[in-house]
């Protein structure tokens, strides 16, 4: 980083590449939404570039980088949460009919059913049924085998259907 502050493009390029791989692994470990990892990595690299003058060589590099990475991840998750809520509000009849077999009474039913699913199940369901990812793409994003992802989606659908039916029979 000190070389980058001095304007050494070659070393700066290498540093950013290494940081990219490190940040990607970090965000995966932190269980950042798979769809957001690349955005989080690129946003953090941009933040490193903008804030590079504030790095003090007498202080450790780790906390400086982690503060930027954490801030970017939180920012993105927050933005993503809002987008998720918006998407849920105008949720597809396609998803509704696919999950429940018929229309749910209220959006609230669907929201609470989705909220009751585990994070990985909800993620798998939304990825394939709302965002239109294929099984392979979804599996790739989550980092598991396509067959495992497929069964995760299947389990999520069964559970969501059961939750919605339980709600309606009440």
């Amino acid at each position: 980083m000190v070389f980058a502050q001095a304007g050494d493009e070659e070393i700066y390029g290498r540093l950013l590449e290494e940081l990219g791989s490190y940040l990607e692994a970090l965000f995966r470990r932190l269980r950042i939404h798979p769809e957001l990892i690349e955005d989080a990595v690129q946003d953090t690299l941009l933040a490193v570039h903008r804030a590079r003058a504030t790095y003090d060589a007498e202080r450790p590099f780790g906390p400086w980088l982690l503060a930027l990475a954490r801030h970017k991840a939180i920012d993105l998750e927050r933005w993503h949460g809002r987008r998720w809520a918006r998407e849920l509000q105008q949720v597809d009849t396609e998803l509704v009919s696919w999950v429940a077999g018929e229309r749910v009474e209220t959006k609230m039913d669907l929201e609470s059913a989705l909220a009751a699913l585990s994070e990985s199940a909800r993620e798998a369901l939304l990825m394939t049924k709302l965002w239109g990812l294929s099984t392979e793409e979804g599996a790739d994003a989550v980092g598991i085998a396509p067959s495992a992802f497929k069964s995760r989606v299947h389990r999520a659908v069964l559970l969501a259907r059961r939750l919605l039916q339980g709600r309606r029979s009440r």
Binding site: A4, G20, Q42, H49
Partner: protein, 214 residues
């Protein structure tokens, strides 16, 4: 979803626009500089609006509450100033300074509330009719200076930094008003500290507008 080749393009772009940067002064040095200049400008502004009230030194000697409130005010200014500049550098530990700033502010407010409830008699000589506006205006230069300093740094929480800058800048004249205006607790709370809080809110808004998003 972005693709990995987007990252390569981004890295290439960032590499190509790399320019040497000048090293920023440490948060401690920046804090000391900002606080000194803010205190100097604040004091000049308060004195520019009018002289200190008659008998302020007697009050300081004979009414312990006044001195303690001023001490809490000075500590608030120091810790708030320290927290602002530390917050403007990613990864610099700030929790302790921020906690001390909150504690000092609470102590300042607490002492005033206790004095208010105890109905301790205080001199009502030297009331400045527009002390609230003077406090607010005397803090403005400190806010502007703080914003200029912060713009050269990388504050991650722009609103919070802006709030602390505005509040810290106005807290300087608010402390001095203990000597320049009446030190009656209710008056101090409403006419001296509320403007400091207001300048904090202004700072939060300005911070979100003018500070660079990292």
């Amino acid at each position: 979803m972005r693709r990995p080749d987007g990252r390569d393009a981004l890295i290439a772009a960032l590499r190509s626009e790399l320019t040497p940067t000048r090293r920023r002064v440490s948060p401690t040095v920046a804090t000391a500089a900002w606080l000194s200049v803010t205190a100097l400008i604040g004091a000049m502004a308060v004195l520019g609006f009018g002289p200190l009230r008659a008998g302020w030194s007697d009050d300081l000697r004979n009414v312990p509450g006044v001195g303690l409130e001023m001490l809490a005010g000075v500590l608030t200014v120091l810790f708030v100033g320290g927290a602002v500049l530390r917050l403007s550098v990613p990864g610099v530990p700030v929790a302790r300074t921020l906690t001390l700033a909150v504690l000092a502010t609470c102590a300042w407010l607490g002492l005033l509330v206790v004095a208010l409830l105890a109905e301790t008699p205080r001199s009502t000589w030297g009331l400045r009719p527009f002390c609230w506006a003077e406090t607010f205006l005397s803090g403005l230069p400190g806010l502007v200076l703080g914003m200029l300093l912060l713009r050269r740094r990388a504050p991650l929480h722009r609103g919070l930094c802006g709030f602390l800058t505005g509040f810290g800048a106005a807290a300087v004249p608010a402390v001095l008003m203990h000597l320049a205006c009446i030190a009656e607790p209710g008056h101090v709370l409403v006419e001296h500290l509320v403007p400091a809080g207001l300048l904090g809110l202004v700072g939060a808004g300005v911070g979100r507008l003018v500070l660079r998003k990292v």
